[in-house]
């Protein structure tokens, strides 16, 4: 009875997702198994050539590079976001919603606008260089815009709110007496953090990390704008195949691998979340 009721309630969402997401995605992904037409378009003969090409060193390298940048962004965002969430959860309870609201606020503005703002900050005549000059620094300044660093900065900035939200949830529900108990039993502050607080909030951290990683590895706007076309990430590659090279089958093949990588991480994260939900939170 209960099952039927929930099935009934889930039907609209399931129907929507199936019709407008699963089906189109499957259609695109099946393209990966066909040959590219001579003048673009698709020639409907079965081939595994596209998938083989993905693991060609040239493209595999782009995958690795993307994973490295996404991983770095996820790592930095996790550290900064966890610290921020920790600080917010330690505030008096009545002040927390407001501070959290401000932490999330940039999220409600347009992604492109926010990314362009970083161009203003990072370029050769930008605010950061201006500030350094204003403070009397005359020496050489490294190029900041159109570098890998700029891309990582952009990704961290854009996805930080995810980490803060994901980490805040378990941290704010932590019973403060549990940390006190650890201290009472002889643990230092650091040991209490490492052995009690971190394990109890690890699911949030893992969720935040995976979110940033998955969103970053497929991102093509930030690498294009802040990377200045200096290097390609997987997202840019897919973009180019579909819109520039007109090679849909190869684009579909890259997407398929990308989705597989993302699924792997999301599954891992779900696994961690399942294991970590052992209670103890208020």
């Amino acid at each position: 009875m209960q099952d039927r009721k929930s099935l009934f309630l889930m039907t609209p969402a399931l129907a929507w997702l199936t019709a407008f997401m699963v089906v189109p995605c499957l259609l695109i992904l099946t393209l990966a198994f066909f040959r590219r037409g001579v003048y673009g378009g698709i020639e409907y003969t079965f081939t595994l050539e596209n998938l083989r090409l993905v693991i060609d060193p040239l493209y595999a390298w782009i995958f690795l590079k993307s994973a490295w940048i996404a991983g770095l962004a996820a790592l930095i965002a996790s550290v900064i976001g966890y610290a921020a969430a920790f600080a917010i959860a330690a505030l008096p309870r009545r002040n927390q919603p407001l501070v959290l609201f401000f932490a999330i606020l940039p999220f409600w503005s347009n992604y492109l606008v926010r990314t362009y703002a970083w161009i203003v900050l990072l370029n050769r005549e930008g605010l950061i260089v201006g500030l350094a000059r204003g403070l009397g620094y005359e020496g050489e300044l490294p190029a900041m815009l159109y570098t890998e660093t700029a891309v990582v900065i952009g990704l961290v900035y854009n996805y930080l709110p995810f980490v803060i939200l994901a980490c805040y949830a378990p941290l704010s529900r932590l019973n403060p007496e549990i940390a006190e108990a650890s201290s009472d039993l002889g643990a230092s502050g650091w040991t209490t953090f490492r052995r009690v607080i971190l394990p109890m909030s690890f699911t949030g951290l893992a969720t935040g990390f995976v979110f940033v990683f998955v969103l970053s590895i497929g991102n093509f706007v930030t690498p294009a704008l802040l990377g200045g076309g200096q290097f390609q990430m997987v997202g840019n590659l897919v973009y180019a195949q579909f819109l520039t090279a007109n090679d849909w089958p190869f684009g579909a093949a890259i997407s398929m691998v990308l989705i597989a990588v993302m699924m792997l991480f999301l599954t891992l994260q779900t696994f961690v979340a399942e294991r970590g939900s052992g209670g103890g939170l208020r």
Binding site: I178, E180, D184
Partner: protein, 359 residues
């Protein structure tokens, strides 16, 4: 002989509010001591200062001759059993108990041996591999106790240790705690708001109100010799009868004389206090010609308004013109005397059982 734990003029202010207002206590080694008070009495703040989680605004705490006032919680030979138990949810029962010993950097073998020994003592050996959320409330309580005791602290603090348990389990655990305390010989300080719990478990009780110590003594002392009206009211049931002072003699508001052997305080407004079990209930007797010597010291008449059955004994609620009175007698007594609502009865008691307090 100097005290094992000496709390000297301890004070804790939060802003302008004095949560603990100059409390001094001396507690002996191996004593089971109860801090009794209503919520907001400062008992938990006092306990947290002993554990090191609150820094006193002034005053000192000496434990076994050592000044521990400024010592951090993780450096005190004191352990606290939290009201919420505060078990580590991601660790098994055995890991929870081992945690405190790991912090002392003991050898693996010794930790394992002491954890096993402790698991056996609190009868949890079969649950060693469980996580806290797979345990019942009573089992969790025992894990929390074991986790604190395994450190062999000089002093164990327990914050409402039985508060989360149901009534039946609570009375079992009251005796269990006393047994364990006796077995380990560790000094226990229990915070509770439950006067019955304090009377049953403690060797001595300190009654706190608004951050101040009202009275400290054995259960019998605080029950039989309350120092003030609040202590009398807080421990057990007490009847209060407002008095009028006529020179040296005292009467009720309606003129019935009240005699007492207690010294009469100088306050203008006084109340007489008498415990329910000290009252004699008799039939209404119209003849007052009985010889002087057979007359009880104090006598009131009233009408029974309600009977509350408590198993072995019975609480009789009686309306008198001096004050509403609660009397206690056995169910058998009540039955043989045919007492019931609406009946008019005589209440009498001895002068020696009459206390006097400022109103």
């Amino acid at each position: 002989m100097s005290a094992f734990l000496s709390v000297q003029d301890l004070e804790k202010r939060f802003g302008t509010q004095r949560a603990v207002d100059g409390v001094s206590l001396d507690i002996r080694q191996g004593e089971f001591f109860a801090l009794l008070g209503a919520s907001g009495s400062g008992k938990t703040t006092l306990l947290r200062m002993l554990a090191g989680f609150e820094a006193p605004s002034s005053g000192r705490v000496l434990l076994d001759g050592q000044d521990i006032t400024a010592l951090a919680p993780n450096r005190r030979p004191v352990n606290l059993m939290f009201q919420s138990y505060a078990l580590f949810p991601h660790m098994t029962v055995a890991k929870n108990i081992a945690y405190g010993l790991e912090m002392e950097r003991l050898a693996r073998g010794e930790i394992a041996a002491r954890v096993d020994e402790m698991l056996a003592k609190v009868q949890l050996a079969h649950l060693a591999g469980r996580k806290p959320d797979q345990l019942s409330g009573g089992q969790r309580q025992r894990v929390a106790l074991a986790r604190a005791l395994v450190k062999r602290p000089k002093l164990l603090l327990l914050d409402e240790p039985l508060g989360a348990l149901d009534k039946k389990l609570r009375s079992e655990m009251q005796l269990e705690l006393k047994r364990i305390q006796h077995e380990f010989g560790i000094t226990f300080i229990v915070v509770t708001h439950d006067q019955e719990e304090a009377l049953v478990m403690a060797d001595r009780i300190a009654i706190l109100k608004d951050g101040s110590l009202l009275q400290c003594g054995t259960p019998r002392e605080v029950y039989e010799q309350p120092l003030n009206r609040f202590a009398a009211e807080f421990i057990g049931v007490m009847n209060f009868i407002p008095l009028i002072r006529n020179g040296d003699s005292l009467t009720t508001m309606t003129g019935a004389p009240i005699s007492t052997v207690a010294p009469v305080p100088n306050d203008v407004q006084l109340v007489a206090a008498v415990r329910p079990e000290r009252l004699e209930i008799g039939p209404l007797r119209l003849d007052t010609s009985a010889s002087e010597s057979a007359r009880p010291d104090n006598r009131l008449t009233g009408t029974i308004t309600a009977l509350a059955y408590h198993g072995l004994d019975l609480q009789l609620h009686i309306a008198t013109d001096a004050a509403p009175i609660i009397a206690r007698l056995t169910a058998d007594q009540a039955e043989s005397r045919d007492l019931g609502p609406g009946k008019t009865v005589t209440l009498s008691w001895k002068a020696a059982d009459t206390k006097l307090f400022p109103a």
